[in-house]
């Protein structure tokens, strides 16, 4: 199936405001199919269909194939499904256990179902369109529980970018605002596994990517980030996962729950210097440590000048039985696109 076929498939499949569904693996020969009509959820912001006028054309969403990701931190096998303690030396939550897990060799990879991801981070122009249609997320109206006082402070006003570049990634957004934007577009923030899977790029270009991160860490961060999609896309076609901004993930706080449990009261973890690095996949990978540490330090209402986001979307297909009376499924595609262009 060609790339345009994939794009048509998930452009049809992902309806704005539709419920999140469990992503599934795309069948290799699935024809593009219309998405079933769904009512918008009562607590979702209105869907965005306004055509872009002033901002440059942005890259579309990219469908990433199913695969797997070896987690950077070994998952803590200390509990079973009911939370009861598991047994064995590698099962303890102590530093000894972490070392046992790191040295036993086999580390199960996490399966990652196919999903779609924004090819580039969400820009200032995108965020402006969102807050235009969803007033409760504007700077002057947002609840303090949903964003701290620096929310969108680089903009000139609620609906005025001022000197902020429309094509630059939006920063100074909280997790709540980012998640509201993504849900309004029928998706959600990517999980950390999804985001790291996109970054891992199936093993391509690891050394270059690490160097890019380290170079980015060395740059002063007082300037607003540059425009999106200026560099090369990775092998999946996704831009700017490295070297432009930090990005929110759906479960930013849970990254280190498994291997370096905080606030659980076990004293042993605190006794070993650098215990947090025990059980890491590659202790020399400073860039990945920084990413995980940064995400673990966040609170959902935080905003920073270098923290933005992009959205992930479920992928699913509806297999229609063959019918001689129904025309080809692709005939539905132009009608759906026309419906999108019609709305103001």
């Amino acid at each position: 199936m060609t790339r345009w076929g994939w794009l048509t498939a998930f452009a049809l499949a992902v309806a704005p405001g539709g419920p999140a569904r469990a992503p599934g693996v795309i069948a290799a020969n699935a024809a593009p199919s219309p998405a079933p009509a769904v009512a918008p959820r009562p607590d979702a912001a209105p869907a965005i269909d306004a055509p872009r006028t002033d901002a440059p054309a942005r890259p579309p969403r990219i469908a990433l194939p199913a695969g797997e990701l070896v987690p950077f931190f070994a998952p803590r096998a200390t509990t079973d499904a009911a939370g009861a303690p598991a047994t064995g030396p590698a099962a303890t939550g102590t530093a000894v256990g972490a070392l046992a897990r790191a040295t036993t060799g086999a580390r199960p990879a996490t399966p990652v179902p196919a999903f779609a991801l924004d090819a580039a981070p969400v820009t200032n122009a995108d965020m402006l369109r969102f807050v235009t249609s969803a007033p409760s997320w504007r700077r002057s109206q947002i609840a303090r529980s949903f964003a701290e006082a620096t929310y969108l402070s680089r903009w000139a006003g609620d609906l005025d970018l001022g000197s902020a570049d429309a094509a630059a990634p939006v920063t100074q957004v909280s997790w709540f605002a980012a998640q509201a934007y993504c849900r309004a577009r029928g998706g959600a923030l990517p999980t950390t596994v999804q985001w790291e899977y996109a970054l891992a790029d199936a093993g391509r270009g690891q050394a270059e990517r690490r160097a890019l991160f380290l170079k980015w860490f060395a740059e002063p961060s007082d300037r607003a980030p540059g425009r999106v999609a200026q560099g090369a896309a990775n092998g999946y076609g996704v831009y700017d996962l490295a070297g432009l901004i930090w990005e929110w993930t759906l479960d930013f706080g849970a990254d280190l729950l498994g291997s370096e449990p905080r606030n659980n009261g076990t004293p042993e973890e605190a006794l070993v210097c650098g215990a947090g690095s025990l059980g890491a996949l590659d202790p020399s990978d400073y860039a990945t440590f920084m990413r995980y540490s940064f995400r673990a330090s966040l609170r959902a209402a935080f905003t920073t000048g270098n923290l933005g986001f992009r959205c992930a979307y479920p992928l699913y297909t509806v297999q229609l039985p063959p019918s001689p009376t129904r025309g080809p499924a692709t005939a539905q595609a132009p009608r759906r696109r026309a419906a999108k262009e019609r709305s103001p």
């Binding site: 009911a82 009861a84 609840a143 609620d158 729950l257 498994g258």
Partner: protein, 226 residues
């Protein structure tokens, strides 16, 4: 030069007043947004709930929940009384029973009036596995006064949002169940976080003291919006 000499000739307090006035006017011009601490006075979008809550209140959340009785409600429906909020899942057999015991210790530390004036809210991480029926069975097994204890389940996005508001970290485990941090949060009658008790088996005096303070504090917002 001229302005410098005129500043020198002016009496000092007038200079400070002038500079302060200039600074204030510049700051006011730059800051177009109204005071974030005050409730929004502009007309809200039709679907938005009344914005009478303080800006830091969790009751701005529009997420919908089902209780153990099957009732549909939002967090703001529980407004008007201090809330003691914890997150568990009913199939959890290790840390969650300890959490329930901690909540009961908090309840036992209150006298009858304080108990009647507050509410304990237990929210499930498990959107798929926990239904109003499992919550009701869980409540009955725990032998709690369901007039003052509310058990809630909701969609994954609602659970993510509430956990983010309470700063509770959780992750679904591949073998089922959840890895999660343990926090008991006290919300005052307006939904603002008044205290966080972090960890299991912690002393409850501090939270109970804040709860008593929240019971006597005046509640300025409207009650019971949903």
């Amino acid at each position: 030069m001229r302005s410098r000499s005129s500043c020198r000739r002016r009496p000092p307090h007038a200079t400070w007043l002038l500079c302060a006035g200039l600074l204030t006017s510049v700051a006011c011009q730059r800051d177009e947004a109204p005071d974030h601490r005050a409730p929004a006075k502009t007309a809200a979008a039709p679907a938005a709930p009344p914005t009478a809550w303080p800006s830091a209140s969790l009751f701005h959340s529009t997420a919908r929940w089902q209780s153990q009785t099957g009732a549909e409600l939002s967090l703001a429906s529980l407004a008007g009384a201090p809330l003691v909020v914890a997150m568990v899942y009913t199939s959890c057999r290790a840390s969650c029973p300890v959490m329930m015991a901690d909540l009961k210790r908090i309840e036992a530390a209150l006298d009858r009036d304080e108990r009647a004036g507050s509410r304990i809210v237990v929210v499930s991480f498990d959107s798929r596995g926990d239904t109003p029926e499992t919550l009701r069975a869980f409540a009955e097994e725990a032998r709690v006064d369901q007039a003052r204890w509310t058990f809630l389940r909701g969609e994954e996005s609602a659970v993510r949002e509430l956990a983010a508001l309470l700063d509770v970290r959780f992750a679904p485990l591949p073998q089922g169940g959840f890895d999660h941090s343990n926090v008991i949060t006290l919300l005052d009658a307006n939904g603002v976080i008044a205290y966080r008790q972090v960890g299991l088996n912690q002393p409850v005096e501090a939270l109970v003291e804040r709860l008593r303070a929240a019971l006597t504090a005046p509640s300025g917002a409207a009650k019971g919006s949903s």
